[in-house]
Symmetry: C2
Subunit: 334 residues, 2 copies
């Protein structure tokens, strides 16, 4: 396997140096591994901190900035950051209004964020947490008790970030974040495995001519293998799984935000074709898509494949979605 | 090879349908294959039209919008669009102020844009053309007489687009576009070949443990094969090739815009690490990097690899670079 790296040991630190070089509006502490919005403590806003294993870029560091995250804590590749990172990030962004931790539902992340929350509270920082668990594919997995957190993380961070930017108090920002998570579901499909720098070979073996349905973002096993099929059939399966689950929660009534996400190595040309198929299936089901975001946002290194995330959004959530955001990976209206 | 497509024949039309679904601020004519900024003819601005083979997304359709292109004409994968597309695009965007064609230097594109320019002039549309030829790796290639057009296309389209948006007349927009091209050079490296939908197998054979220096954006041969090397050595070769060439044109005096571009399948984590190496080499050489853009912008389907483009930018070009832009793939300040 050929990678554009210096060594597996320095991958995360090297990337942080690159982020610092490319984005002077971010404060990057390479040694302590935190990325902070410049001036995060000014303005008296609630802070938003997220983090998780590296390898899902632009998640999370690419979402730090006005209107979204206050700080991100990258761990080693596919490995939770440590509580000390989260604690330092919380301290770096708390203006006295408290901090919301956005936590993807993986065992390591959950434990470490919980410990960091306790330490932060001891230091006098008020903490709320939201657990993102949107992946309908599996109930438990290698890394998870319950559903995994995947694409909905972007919706939670964007919408809760807009609420914080607008001056909402901690409890309200947390409530909105939980509401977004509860209204969101995802389903992913792998057309290839990914290769971690440390291992240097694919995380699982996918025979030629097959794809894996219900994949997570770490190359962990999905629901089932199937022969390669046309994009429109993949869309039917992915959208079906997500929309069925959303309808189980409550009858379809409103509009959705749609994220058509690439896993890292799928060409944007293909991803846009898949988007057409996703929108066609949604139209058949009578689902009105209010906003569509297409791109590589919640990735799995060099995995080929895609995921679909839908979030049922009322007027308030749509307004917060549309609010200005200025980060490395997502920016509009400002 | 597993692809997220319905069939090789429908890849481009399917992608255009997805672009239409995701971006309601674009007018997409799927049948005639043109993507037009909504209201392009309003405001009495000079029009900017580009196009080329598909497979390089987000180039060009992802750069259509206020502050950048007025329209894009996608051809089949790695195949020039036809003059009729370019002519229709010119007619769709001309407000009477004329239209600039931004043409990457590939034989098919050059011939077809030239023919479209003649036809448009016959229809009373004033046309200027700028040829982008920034790739220092090879002087001639399979598809080119002279240097290939690659990453600098983004700089030309952004900066000339800002000039047009500000109301500059056609000759001035064309002059700025030519100035940007003359001040820009690129060098690309492939860590894997790409696979076109029609062929279904890699465009060239790259043995494991080797990489290809000086690659273009169509999988055409580069300068030479070398054993896999650390990212910082790749940066030294790529930056060296570009900066040496820029210094041959004129002594280093000012600042540069830097594009650290992924070819499609290289994880963003790796690309940021490479960015750190690129910036380190530039700092050693005493080159001041005024702005850095990192991401997959001028791609080659699922190729793993990267390219470096530098543009010497004076105050005027920097100001135009910083001007607001609102497209699918590039947006800031608006």
């Amino acid at each position: 396997m050929r990678m554009l790296i210096n060594s597996p040991e320095t991958v995360v630190a090297d990337a942080l140096r690159g982020i610092a070089a490319a984005h002077p509006d971010l404060e990057v502490d390479v040694e302590r591994r935190i990325v902070v919005r410049r001036g995060a403590r000014e303005g008296g806003r609630v802070g938003l901190v997220s983090g998780g294993g590296s390898g899902h870029e632009p998640l999370h560091a690419g979402f730090v900035g006005p209107g979204m995250l206050s700080a991100a804590c990258p761990g080693e590749v596919f490995t939770s950051p440590v509580p000390d990172q989260m604690l330092r990030a919380a301290a770096a962004v708390d203006s006295g209004q408290g901090v919301l931790f956005v936590v993807k539902n993986y065992t390591g992340d959950v434990l470490n964020f919980r410990m960091a929350a306790e330490l932060a509270e001891e230091d006098g920082i008020r903490i709320e947490q939201v657990l993102v668990n949107d992946d309908v594919a599996v109930t438990d997995s290698l890394y998870t008790a319950g559903r995994r957190g995947t694409g909905a993380t972007l919706f939670v961070e964007k919408i809760a970030g807009a609420a914080a930017e607008a001056g909402a108090p901690l409890e309200e920002v947390a409530e909105i974040a939980r509401r977004v998570n509860a209204a969101s579901r995802s389903f992913g499909v792998a057309l290839s495995a990914c290769t971690t720098p440390a291992k240097g070979s694919p995380t699982f073996d996918l025979p030629d001519g097959e794809l894996e349905l219900g994949i997570g973002i770490h190359g962990e096993p999905g629901r089932e293998r199937r022969p390669v099929m046309p994009s429109r059939e993949i869309a039917r399966i992915a959208v079906g799984a997500v929309a069925d689950e959303l309808e189980r929660i409550a009858p379809q009534d409103g509009r959705v935000l749609a994220l058509v996400n690439g896993m890292g190595a799928t060409p944007l040309l293909e991803l846009y074709g898949f988007t057409a198929d996703v929108c066609a299936v949604l139209a058949e089901r009578g689902v009105h898509v209010a906003r569509t975001l297409v791109g590589n946002y919640v990735t799995s290194l060099d995995m080929a494949g895609c995921s679909v995330t839908l979030c049922r959004a009322d007027e308030e959530l749509l307004r917060l979605w549309d609010a200005p955001v200025r980060t490395a990976a997502l920016r509009w209206g400002a």
